[in-house]
């Protein structure tokens, strides 16, 4: 039981570190949304454990780490969690590439939500490049899915 939460927390912390690690300049706009991907996986696999509330808590953590407005990531991750709560039954029966397509759309909406709060602050992106992470995240989805599924089965998180 506690082991399960430990594994989930660990995966989020790892994703947060990956989200912070300095990247080369040319990859700046394309950084995959690691935390969003991990949240997506857990909320599809264990919707009774990881949902909107977890998304809010992790979002606030990310806001602090990124120096964003408190609530920006909380909002966009909550939107993502809500989408996956509405769609998880369908997503589970999709093939890997169909899932990737859905991940592209969902992370795209997550990015839009995030941009919306940033625009309130006055630091919205001036190019549509801010949608690039949706593409890189969708391409990485199969990898993230396999890895986290392996972890979940190994530690029998349910």
């Amino acid at each position: 039981m506690f082991m399960g939460y430990g594994v989930i927390l660990g995966s989020f912390l790892l994703a947060a570190v990956l989200a912070l690690i300095p990247m080369p300049q040319w990859l700046l706009w394309g950084r995959p949304e690691w935390v969003a991907l991990v949240l997506l996986y857990w909320s599809i696999a264990l919707p009774h454990k990881i949902g909107i509330f977890a998304a809010l808590v992790i979002g606030v953590m990310m806001d602090v780490l990124e120096g964003a407005v408190l609530g920006q990531n909380a909002f966009s991750l909550a939107v993502l969690a809500l989408l996956s709560l509405l769609l998880y039954q369908r997503l589970r029966v999709f093939s890997l590439w169909q899932q990737s397509g859905m991940v592209f759309v969902m992370i795209g909406m997550h990015q839009l939500a995030s941009q919306w709060v940033q625009t309130l602050e006055g630091t919205g992106a001036r190019t549509p490049l801010f949608l690039l992470p949706a593409l890189t995240s969708a391409l990485l989805w199969p990898v993230v899915l396999q890895v986290l599924r392996g972890v979940r089965r190994h530690y029998r998180v349910s």
């Binding site: 690690i21 953590m61 609530g71």
Partner: protein, 279 residues
Amino acid sequence: MKESHLGLRILLAVLAVVALITADLRFNSLEKTRAVLDTAATPLVWIADIPARLGAWQNKHIHSRARLLEERERLQRENLLLKGRSMQMSSLQAENVRLRGLLNSTAMLRSDVLVAELIGVSPDPVRHQLVLNKGARDGVYVGQPLIDADGLMGQVVDVGEVTSRVLLLTDSTHAIPVQVNRNGVRAIAEGTGALDTLDVLHVSTTTDIKPGDLLVSSGLGGRFPVGYPVAEVMAVEHDPGQSFATIRARPSAAINRSRHVLLVFVDAAGDSPPLPRES
């Protein structure tokens, strides 16, 4: 899964998020909370910085002897040069104090500096922020100016216990009062969101300002100390249809390269050059 509670949960989430954003953005009332959370998040920032630190370690320890000797020679030359210049400095400073006394103007601000190391950069390309390894424990305060060897870099916006967060000059929400070093013309330099460009705002087309001019901080507004280099004017465009000239400047500081930076402590305690401070 209890679908029936979904509506309620969405409502609660929306309320929580709206409350958070409003409190942070409109009322700025979460500074304390943020400081506590910043402190709690420090280990993650440290871990994320490990690759960069490994790179720096490698740079420091894996060098050929020839290169080290060459560097030593270069530093000795530079040291000699700087020593020569600082000899003149002290007499000039004394003269400056006397002249200021004659003019009945206030003494220059005295400033101490604290060396800090960069341990994180904002992952968001539109947000130009740095995380430093000095915090409230070292006396860092919100609004404190940050410089590197070449000029002003930005100011502190969040202070945790052992880390602090700096907003750079180039962030699109940042503006700094400047003056042209050559003739004292005052203006505001605003960040553009690009690392190598500042916009100089509200300068009328007839003002004497041209490419190559050095912009230094003017000290108006009381946040930044006077006289630190801010940027160099790159291009001045006069469009007859506009009432103001379009002026672009390049920050003097190595905004995206410096790993070691200086936090400046400003207080009005007489006239002295920046002193190294115990860290």
